[in-house]
Symmetry: C2
Subunit: 189 residues, 2 copies
């Protein structure tokens, strides 16, 4: 998606060779008008899939997921990273290793909100090693729902998650796929 790639080139910052900071428009400050354009793109890619639930993971996937859900006229469920007093015991869980934070955490979705009748689109801001996406896919599988695919804002295609999950048969549509990056800039696939 040209608009997103241009924005990454203009406002993204590469740190330490493999961290792409896009916090001025994607995952700390969020450009909602950009999200609207991304939502149109996700809708055009998955419009025929009869999506009735969008699944994402807290926190930075939520904004993109909510704007995208307007196009699909469906609710969003966000997987929570820790159990809280406010989540009932009856949950689907998966373990997710965060390479950014160097920790492994449980992600949970209440069983009330996913069932075999659902057709689920996963939306997230980043795909790199695929840990979050694998965890979300495993939750969808456990629920018996159908996973129609995943819509990702930025895929680091030089990391293994995208290839690994596509080889397992997952449909993944990434709006910007990064082939490589360095302090000198970002190159797209």
């Amino acid at each position: 998606m040209q608009l997103l790639e241009s924005r990454i080139i203009r406002d993204g910052k590469v740190k330490d060779g493999s961290i792409l900071k896009v916090d001025s428009f994607l995952n700390h400050q969020m450009d909602i008008e950009l999200f609207g354009e991304m939502a149109k793109e996700f809708y055009s890619l998955f419009a025929s899939e009869n999506v009735n639930k969008i699944l994402t993971i807290e926190a930075s996937g939520i904004g993109i997921a909510c704007i995208t859900a307007q196009a699909f006229h469906c609710p969003v469920i966000f997987a929570k990273k820790t159990k809280t007093k406010n989540i009932a015991g009856d949950v689907f869980t998966a373990k997710v290793e965060s390479f950014t934070h160097g920790v492994t955490y449980d992600v949970v979705v209440s069983k009330e909100f996913l069932s075999p009748d659902d057709r689920v689109l996963i939306i997230d801001d980043f795909l790199a090693n695929g840990a979050a996406l694998s965890g979300l896919a495993s939750i969808v599988k456990d629920s018996g729902a159908t996973l129609v695919g995943a819509g990702i804002a930025i895929e680091k295609a030089f990391q293994p998650g995208g290839q690994m999950l596509r080889e397992k048969g997952m449909r993944i549509e990434s709006l910007a796929r990064i082939k490589g990056m360095s302090e000198n800039g970002v190159e797209f696939c």
Copy 2:
């Protein structure tokens, strides 16, 4: 707001006398069409305030904030609850005590995204003891920006946050104000 109150009565669940579970439409599964109606209400309340930034806190405020930002045509900033490798050192911080989780955490906003020129509307899903809202307001103050007020989905008016912050001069507009609740139901102000 009648629509939100009706939804709380229909789908909210009171646990242990003071916890209101609204996770089927507000803060785990999110009803985006409902958020659209809430956004219209927030816009009508704050339309004259020239809001140019919406500030919220991860995770459950993000969805409402993003849909509301569409009405104001402005970006959303979400305060993060822990420092991550991906946030630069130059941040505004505040300590927030979570009564739900029984912990105190730091919330941070990068200094890049708030400045004295900004007119900030805080959006959040709940107001109870006012800890999160106080923390966000203190971040806005530290930045030199103008806080035009706070738009809250559900205020537990029987807890002290709303009164305390209004007495300090904060404009708070809550779409549903709960006077009291028990296993028998919810009563609005």
